[in-house]
């Protein structure tokens, strides 16, 4: 009798401090079979346990094309994230998943892709970006526009450098006005503004947006200005979750369950939702 609520055990093999209060865990299943066989698709999330404190929902931030490990990135903001934040290499956490729907890689093949992210909104997109880059030849131009409040708040700083160094990726990094340091060489401006300045072409393109609600709202407007249609713009929603599999009744937006029908949605689908998130 399979008990849906029991998590798999994972060891924290590495911890990276991405930004103040933000950490990335590199996780490996304790069970050998799980290590070998675990699969997920980019966009999906999991419920991560800090035993004794509870569970928390994060996307899987590593590439779905890489096996044997997963990564998650989170900001310390409440009871469970606080407990997770205080864990060290070698400690054990729990994992339930993968849950949720996925980014439609097939639909993206052959298209130019524009990734727009703000702050702690980059982790959900990172899985997608890494998976896409692992099969670079399947996709057209790739533009990444990423911004955070200050230089310190940028996550995946090393990753951003690698992406900037790649000839086949256009990487635009920005910080909010006032967030720049003396030696900052990137852009200064809010993400939607920087996006419009970067002006990626909307021809044969799809855009994926993730970040704070306000950033998403204005980025969607910017993308519309640049000629992107709503069905070609994708975003991920988050809502308070507990079970992750559609039963606890907490994450619904009208009749849409974020954990089952999402977290990946097109801008068209989001526009059709009632104001319930």
């Amino acid at each position: 009798m399979h008990n849906l609520y029991v998590p798999h055990l994972m060891t924290i093999e590495d911890v990276t401090e991405e930004a103040p209060d933000v950490k990335t865990f590199h996780l490996v299943f304790k069970d050998e079979k799980m290590r070998e066989n675990f699969e997920f698709e980019t966009g999906q999330f999991g419920e991560y346990s800090a035993f004794g404190h509870g569970e928390c929902t994060f996307c899987i931030a590593s590439a779905s094309s890489r096996k044997g490990f997963i990564q998650c990135t989170f900001r310390r903001s409440g009871k469970v994230t606080d407990a997770l934040y205080n864990l060290e290499i070698g400690d054990t956490i729990g994992f339930r998943g993968p849950y949720g729907n996925t980014f439609d890689l097939e639909a993206m093949k052959g298209k130019n892709l524009v990734f727009v992210a703000g702050g702690i909104g980059l982790p959900p997109l990172r899985s997608l970006i890494l998976t896409v880059l692992d099969n670079r030849e399947d996709y057209g131009d790739i533009t990444i526009v990423y911004g955070a409040r200050t230089v310190k708040d940028l996550v995946y700083k090393d990753q951003l450098k690698h992406w900037a160094e790649r000839k086949d990726v256009k990487m635009v990094t920005a910080v909010d006005p006032g967030g720049e340091t003396d030696d900052w060489t990137g852009k200064v401006g809010f993400v939607p503004t920087v996006l419009e300045e970067t002006a990626p072409s909307s021809g044969n393109s799809m855009a994926v947006v993730c970040g704070p609600p306000v950033m998403i709202k204005f980025s969607l407007q910017s993308l519309e200005k640049l000629g992107f249609s709503r069905s070609d713009v994708i975003t991920t929603l988050e809502n308070r979750m507990k079970c992750g599999f559609g039963k606890c009744g907490r994450c619904n937006v009208g009749n849409i369950y974020v954990c089952k029908d999402g977290p990946v949605f097109t801008a068209e689908e989001v526009a059709a939702m009632p104001n319930d998130f």
Partner: protein
């Protein structure tokens, strides 16, 4: 109820208040409901009968937005006004911000009592009254801006005796182990719906302790520990503040005798703090939120 309705209309017409919080006929026999009158037409629905059991002062608290609309009028029985006094004591309400439409009351119906038409105008028999009414000494409200209904003289009762207090004494007479079992058996039925705190005007914390999880002071589960912790904690928080409006007892779906629990605490306060009773003053602070150097500390062991 003509004069209540006409006064209400007057207050709306001359914009003295933004809304009248009162009672209207309910959808089922024997029930009334809280009603918010914003127009003169609305005012025609206002009633006051022995079925008007709700303590409407809950709508004056920060749990709702009514006070943000401007000055508010409220239909209040003597027991409800006691709650208003505590809200004023605790700086949750300014007397000037509320127009009290006081109603004389001979008693309201007990839980699940349904009166038939004839009984509504006749005197309510004692056995149909809510237990709080048996020992009521505020049949005519102590404070009001306007008074409706014929003056009712309260019975001369010594405070903390009769009615619920007979039951309080009975429990006090139990041996320690017996008393523990008595309460644990009741708490066993608690389903942690928190209807008690939601309906209580004095449970107005922005973030309830049950919602605090770093650490989880009161477990949310409906097991022995969680139920005991919650019920005792709430009784402690109400100690010296509860005005015996009886709402928590009325709404508890598990029939936990919350009146008994809270009035035990009220009687203790009366005995320990020079006859202090919640709801009868607005200046003096409740015992547990004030400290005087000459406070009796004999009970601290």
């Amino acid at each position: 109820m003509e004069s209540l309705q006409s006064k209400a209309k007057e207050l709306i017409k001359d914009a003295s208040v933004a809304v009248i919080i009162g009672y209207a006929a309910g959808t089922k026999k024997g029930k009334t409901k809280p009603f918010f009158a914003y127009s003169e037409e609305d005012c025609e629905k206002l009633i006051f009968t022995p079925e008007c059991v709700n303590n409407l002062t809950i709508y004056l608290t920060r749990k709702f937005d009514f006070m943000k609309k401007g000055k508010v009028a409220i239909v209040a029985k003597g027991c409800d006004i006691k709650t208003i006094n505590v809200l004023i004591q605790e700086n949750q309400l300014k007397r000037d911000d509320v127009v009290i439409l006081g109603v004389s009351c001979e008693g309201v119906v007990d839980k699940d009592v349904i009166l038939d038409r004839a009984e509504l105008t006749a005197d309510l028999p004692e056995d149909k009254k809510s237990i709080k009414c048996i020992t009521c000494d505020v049949n005519t409200p102590s404070d009001f801006d306007h008074l409706f209904g014929e003056g009712v003289e309260s019975k001369a009762i010594e405070p903390m005796t009769g009615g619920i207090y007979d039951e309080v004494d009975k429990v006090r007479g139990m041996a320690q182990g017996e008393k523990w079992n008595f309460w644990m058996e009741h708490f066993e039925r608690c389903i942690k719906c928190y209807a008690c705190k939601k309906v209580c005007p004095l449970c107005y914390c922005d973030v309830c302790i049950t919602e605090k999880n770093q650490p989880q002071w009161i477990e949310t589960s409906a097991h022995e520990r969680g139920n005991y912790a919650w019920n005792i904690k709430r009784a402690m928080d109400l100690s010296g503040r509860c005005t015996f409006c009886g709402e928590c007892d009325r709404v508890c779906p598990a029939e936990i005798p919350l009146n008994l629990l809270n009035q035990e605490m009220a009687k203790l306060n009366y005995e320990a703090f020079d006859g202090y009773r919640a709801g009868y003053q607005t200046e003096e602070k409740p015992p547990f939120v004030s400290f005087k150097e000459d406070d009796d500390e004999g009970f601290i062991r």
